[in-house]
Amino acid sequence: MRILEDEGYDMKNHGLIALQNVFKTYQLGESTIHAINSVSLAIEKGEFVAVIGPSGSGKSTLMHICSLLDNPSSGTITFEGVDTTNFSEEQLAHIRNQKVGFVFQQFNLLPRTSALENVQLPLLYTDITRHERQQRARDMLAGVGLGDRLNNTPSQLSGGQQQRVAIARALINNPEVIFADEPTGNLDTKSGREIMDLMTDLHREGKTIVLVTHESEVAAFAKRIISMRDGKIVSDRKDGKKVHLKNKGGGR
């Protein structure tokens, strides 16, 4: 990315995404809720991370903040070495467009719209020509095994197929990192397994993957497992070993 090289950041020392002493608080009547309570974390390029925890533990909020969908109440987020604290909505949208892919539990495909057009969605916000958009969308759908379902609308596809369209959409801008929020939550065991196999393949091809789930079988596909409770990270293990953050900042 332009800004990075211009300002001479050393990406290796910062990882892909780094959170320093991040809080996310909500005001609920009189009481203050800490959805994220002082979290510091670094995700390296090429990692396969699962964030687990019971509902309300803040794992989804953490993912939203890591993916620049949501702003923290305090703390800094560094993306590819660049502090995003003062980024405008436009700049954040641009990073999400260029560097991030999303997969949701609800698939979030546009209804009454063909798979081919759904996959192209992120490219509508780039300067890529229509012809190239379609070509890439075809390739992506073929890559997830839906080369013969280009013109089907979501209602004509099974849950597993819909989620594969969503994965093709997440991949079309060739992102650095894919964020998946309960990607198997709405699928049967077999389809869920196929989706996780697809994720594993993507990881092998070098993509960074951050997965949020409450199912331990799904989390088992990941190499690193971050466990959350009450807005805090309670354990962070990679290949069974504890992960230490190089720079804990002002963490408590």
Binding site: H64, R96, Y125
Partner: protein, 401 residues
């Protein structure tokens, strides 16, 4: 950041096509509004054009003398007096013709309504009593038969020249020339049929019967004139002539018992009235355009709420608030512009068809204004929903059920 107008337009069009019924019904509001504005303005403008044309046909060297004091602006005071206070007679017309040097001729007119019958057929019509000069003064030639002559007027003969409507009502397709009709009980011979003139203000100009003024005076016992025309010599000073006519008439009549008007003054009075009518009609139609605009805003607000998740998704994958704003604004503008185009086409088309039986003239400015206003309506009523969409937080939008 990337902002691609072509993509925004494409996305907006897709969304509209996906909701065909809703888009069509929303557009209908604008179509009706624009069509109403164009049709009503066309109608007002058509009337104005026709009246102007008729005055121009009469010629600029024509003056009118009417009983009573004619008020240009405020018709509540004065106006044509009742029969009792009308003191204008044919003698006045003759004196003007005789005494004012610049006057070429005068044409007395007395009008009344009467029932005409012919072999069991009956119709009520407008009777004009005048002289043989009516033909040249009013450029009213016969299409068959002949006009009555000076002798007929002098002798008070019972002859009549009929308008097309009267002829059709009484005779159907039969040739009326030489037939005898009964006007309020007296027999008249039809000697001519006038060329058709059409209608003004829904007032059928062919629904009239012209008889010698002497005959009318005799039968209906009306010795006062409804008004009379004065034709001045070509090139004469109109203002000076009017002054002289006033002097001559003033010798016998009080100042407030007659008015001398020229066609230009009368025309501008009519144009004034018609301009007001046209503006009022256009204003009423504009209200329906406003209602159409509110319809667009309403449907766009529903659309933003309904597509909250879609907005969240688009933002997640890289749409900026500005892109979302423009997408929804574009949808509103496309709806209203489409309505504007269809409404304009329908308005012009219906106007052209109506032109066969009503005076319709579609001015270019009406088309441009209706078109411009419909585009403005789209932007004005589209901004609020579009801003709402643009301001949605992607997280909350994605969570929306």
């Amino acid at each position: 950041m990337k902002f691609n107008l072509r993509n925004v337009t494409r996305v907006a069009l897709r969304a509209l096509v996906t909701n065909k019924t809703r888009s069509t019904l929303t557009t209908l509001g604008i179509i009706i509004g624009v069509m109403a504005v164009i049709l009503l303005v066309s109608f007002g403008s058509g009337l104005e054009k026709m009246i102007t044309q008729q005055f121009e046909d009469l010629g600029t060297n024509l003056l009118f003398v009417m009983p009573g004091k004619f008020q240009f602006r405020d018709s509540r005071e004065g106006g044509p007096p009742g029969v009792a206070s009308n003191k204008l007679t044919q003698k006045d017309a003759e004196r003007v013709a005789r005494k004012v040097q610049t006057v070429e001729a005068t044409l007395p007119i007395t009008t009344t309504n009467a029932t005409i019958t012919y072999r069991g057929e009956e119709t009520s019509t407008f009777i004009i009593g005048s002289t043989e000069q009516y033909e040249t003064f009013r450029k009213s030639p016969v299409m068959s038969g002949k006009w009555f002559g000076k002798k007929d007027v002098d002798s008070g003969k019972r002859v009549a020249v009929a308008g097309m409507t009267v002829v059709e009502d009484l005779f159907g397709t039969k040739d009326p020339i030489g037939e005898k009709v009964s006007i309020s009980g007296k027999k008249y011979q039809i000697i001519g049929v006038l060329e058709s003139k059409g209608a003004t203000f829904g007032n059928d100009q062919d629904d009239q019967l012209i008889i010698p003024i002497s005959t009318l005076r005799q039968q209906f016992n009306i010795d006062k004139l409804s008004y009379f025309y004065v034709r001045v010599h070509e090139g004469a000073d109109l203002e000076a002539s009017m002054r002289e006519i006033r002097e001559v008439l003033g010798q016998r009549l009080e100042e407030n018992e007659f008015s001398v008007l020229n066609s230009q003054e009368l025309l501008s009075t009519f144009q004034n009235i018609l301009g007001t009518i046209t503006a009022a009609l256009g204003g009423i139609a504009a209200i329906s355009l406003l209602v159409g605009g509110i319809g667009i805003m309403n449907i766009m607000l529903v659309s933003v709420t309904e597509r909250t998740r879609e907005i969240g998704l688009r933002k997640a994958v890289g749409a900026t608030p500005k892109t979302i704003l423009f997408q929804f604004l574009m949808e509103a503008v496309i709806l209203s512009l489409l309505g504007g185009i269809i409404g304009t086409l329908l308005g012009v088309l219906i106007g052209a068809i109506a032109n066969n039986f009503l005076p319709v003239n579609t001015p270019l400015w009406a088309v441009l204004v209706a078109f411009g206003v419909s585009a403005a309506v789209g932007i004005i009523f589209g901004v609020y929903p579009a801003r709402r969409a643009a301001r949605l937080s992607p997280i909350e939008a994605l969570r929306y059920e």
